[in-house]
Symmetry: none
Subunit: 535 residues, 2 copies
């Protein structure tokens, strides 16, 4: 089936439209990391943001320029403002300054918006679209036109909506994206409109951009592809304004595994989809949706007794696809027999080979992990913590130092006025390196900083390398428990000049959890530095 069908171009807008989701706020650093992950996956176009409109997005493009991508970056913006020549439009200048290979501009294709939002007539809107595309196309390789509210516009006045697309095509656009901006279009309506549009606007690739306000973004995207669309827009985990955008972690496996369509993602890379999805949730600090199709923790979890016995005999009985194809795994919620081979595969990822299934140390490690996961640890976002525990269980981990306790004093002196507040923290730590017991004190902006200072002071004489490790990210989330006594999970990301790693700590005491994650990160660094020296 797949061979005769054209390849689908994947256009990711997580960094741009995804950032419109409630509670989503990407730093420039987040954006750069996410762009690289998307590029590794094999996404064709990565829409980075709206330069000019947002200083953070401009900075992103400045820094992204120095990175190497296999795919292409796109800068996003609006058509020129009414009454202004393209060359005088600050927005268009901002787009060009991003120096990307692709520029995507959106324009109005619904008369309601043309009249009410822009306050202009139909004719002038066609000029805006034509001028803008024409201006950009003379200055950049690829120009994509996003027809905002295309489906609502078409339902309202099909002639006008089609004229807008033709104006963009005449201006030289390389592709036209049909947007269901309000997410209100039903599948059969959308399919019919796409079919008609393909006939009315031939000789140019069409794309699709769906929102999920009717719970149909994925279905609409797939229907558009079936009707002949060649470019698919969406976001990782479906994040985006209101109910979100088409979820690429659902769209991609449906396209590749069920509709036999090729994309820039290889079958091998598709297996990283689950990991990318969970990493993304960590990035935006929200709990992954267990019931997310394909990549959720419960997507292949079997609970009912009948289901479990059938699925053990033949997984096709209750699984629509093989979970490994997307890097997910089957979970039998009552038995833990499945775990051991998974664990061996996971260890191999860290370069720990040759562990056999009946090694008692493996069983012990599995038990420890299950126990910790029940307490609320989650190793998905904390590879370093996982590796350390595995190496300890397999007796492959040296002891660099031991911790014996700590004390932190936080103090705010204040006379009620913000300017008078004096805040600080002092920490003392006790550690033993070999036979030397150390007790040191550090000051800091806050308790984590003070503990970090004290721990460095205690260890740097023995391990000077640890001075150049730095905290990169710090996140806390509540787990189980009641009110202010609830257990929290602290996830910290670290870096030095050669690597990045993350560690996790869990406790009903936030500072204790932070300190545990910090101690683990130091151990990880010392181990990796030692391995590097040996090899």
């Amino acid at each position: 089936m797949g061979d005769s069908l054209p390849r689908i171009v994947l256009y990711d807008t997580t960094l741009r439209d995804g950032s419109q989701g409630e509670g989503i706020q990407f730093s420039v650093e987040d954006k750069l990391r996410l762009a690289q992950r998307l590029d590794e996956l094999g996404v064709d176009v990565i829409e980075g943001g709206w330069p000019g409109a947002n200083s953070r997005d401009s900075l992103f493009f400045d820094r992204a320029r120095h990175l190497r991508f296999k795919g292409r970056l796109a800068a996003f913006g609006a058509t020129r403002r009414p009454g202004i020549r393209p060359e005088d439009d600050a927005g268009l200048r901002g787009l060009l300054q991003a120096e990307t290979g692709v520029i995507t501009v959106f324009g109005k294709s619904w008369l309601l918006h043309v009249r009410e939002s822009l306050g202009i007539q139909a004719r002038e809107n066609l000029d805006l679209v034509y001028d803008t595309i024409d201006f950009l196309k003379k200055r950049v390789g690829t120009v994509i036109f996003d027809a905002e509210h295309f489906f609502d516009g078409y339902k309202d006045d099909p002639d006008f909506a089609i004229q807008v697309l033709r104006a963009a095509q005449s201006g030289g656009a390389d592709a036209l994206t049909l947007c269901d901006t309000n997410g209100g279009t039903l599948v059969f309506e959308l399919e019919e409109i796409v079919q008609k549009t393909i006939t009315l606007v031939p000789h140019i690739p069409l794309g699709i951009h769906c929102h999920n306000d009717s719970g149909l973004a994925v279905a609409n995207t797939l229907a558009a592809v079936r009707a002949g669309v060649l470019q698919v827009q969406g976001t990782i985990n479906g994040i985006g304004e209101r109910c979100g955008n088409a979820n690429l972690t659902t769209v991609i496996p449906n396209l590749m595994l069920k509709m036999g369509r090729e994309t820039g993602i290889s079958r091998e890379r598709l297996q990283s989809l689950t990991r990318l999805s969970r990493w993304m949730d960590e990035l935006v600090n929200r709990s992954p949706r267990k019931d997310q199709p394909f990549v959720g923790r419960a997507a292949f979890a079997h609970k009912g007794g009948i289901h479990v016995s059938a699925v053990v005999k033949n997984s096709r009985t209750y699984e629509h696809v093989d979970p490994e194809l997307v890097g997910n795994q089957r979970r039998i919620l009552i038995s833990d027999q499945a775990g051991r081979s998974n664990l061996i595969a996971r260890l191999a990822e860290f370069g720990i080979h040759g562990v056999v299934a009946d090694d008692p140390k493996l069983k012990e490690l599995l038990g420890e992990i299950k126990d910790l996961e029940n307490q609320g640890y989650q190793f998905e976002g904390a590879d370093a913590s996982f590796e350390l525990r595995a190496r300890r269980a397999l007796m492959q981990m040296p002891v660099y130092f031991e911790t014996e306790g700590f004390r932190v004093i936080d103090e705010r002196r204040s006379r009620g006025n913000d300017d008078d507040k004096v805040m600080g923290a002092e920490a003392t730590v006790k550690v033993t390196v070999g036979k030397t017991a150390l007790h040191l004190v550090g000051e800091g902006a806050g308790p984590v900083d003070a503990l970090h200072t004290a721990l460095l002071k205690a260890l740097e004489w023995a391990y000077p390398g640890i001075r150049n490790m730095q905290l990169l990210d710090y996140k806390v989330r509540i787990l189980q428990g009641e009110g202010t006594k609830a257990k929290v999970r602290v996830l910290i990301e670290w870096q030095d000049e050669v690597r990045q790693w993350s560690t996790v700590g869990v406790s009903d005491h936030i500072i204790a959890a932070s300190y545990d994650a910090m101690v683990e990160a130091v151990n990880y660094k010392l181990f990796k530095d030692q391995v590097d020296q040996v090899s």
Copy 2:
């Protein structure tokens, strides 16, 4: 459009298939309350559970018998076991003992399952289905047959799948449900199979039962209705095994508001859908999905500046339906793109009316918010913090108490062994209530808990109401800055017996940020309690 189309029967399986979702465990009491809520909404058939297979479900039916329902209860079970006469089958006896008006039995319609799970031949399976329906139909008013794996079965062997339906029809079934049990069927496949089935098995109403493993349960359900299906199965909030069932809170508004179909739910009752959805999440103790179509908190939330100014002029510009139709509401999010019109729209949501655009206090407030947002505050997830600042800027906020500072001591005594760790926190706070200066100490599991204890001690004599506020969620994320000295943002969600609210604190000292958010939450509660008393 709607008048000529037949009414759709809503069949809810939240209590049965919904309870297969990971982490879902209903008590009998929960089930009874949920059944009543579904009945009030106007659902036609409420599937209560599998009596006999599950003692909790049997008890539910015993107790439900004494309640008054407008709709009908259904008991669910399997066809008789191979080699056993219907009258000797314990499962079928259990179904009859539930004494419901409707009995639903499922049977196999995929040969793979007939052979591998039941271990019998095709012919014998047809007998099972016929016998079972025939036996039940002589003893109960309505019998529905659920054809498990119908779509996979049809793709594998259409003749067999259709024969199974005909066997149930011959046995006297009142309706036949086509189930996409594994959730793997794409919309166009499902639509085609339903169309063919309607032609091949006429003179009996068909139903649809979809799972969401491909993210298509809602789309598939709507496509089946369009193809002629008359009965729709699903669950509230889409809970169910693996990726869940078709979400009725999405299906129902699509059917009624977009496809012009009538159901047992009146237009007026439809407005209780949002409340039912949130109540349901509370029942199963999980945070509501903000991005849930129609009923989510973010479903009509607007963030981008362009969107906000357009939606205020004309809500159709960025809303596919009027939020009030499903009992939801529009929300204007304050973000770094905020402008003055955003702010006025936002204030009106809090009941602060009559503020004009050129009010200098408004300008000041906007400046303050932008300034705080530059520091890393985010008011999107912290409605209460935002409202407090607005009311202070507009001189509408009383001073209940003043804070003067605090001190926290965290201590872990340890001898290197996990079991020996002793961890705790002690906090002292200074506050002034009126002219009374207070200095109190509290202990806790961690620093936030200790501060909470101390603050309550200091304030409860003056404001006893604050005792019943509780921390519900706590999140920290890093903002700008370097390493362990970086600024963090603490977001806390609180609740008391009548409301939920959230507050934010930002500082390079995590405990200071937490304390600030806590102090703000107390102020908010005191203000709301006072307003409630006055009105």
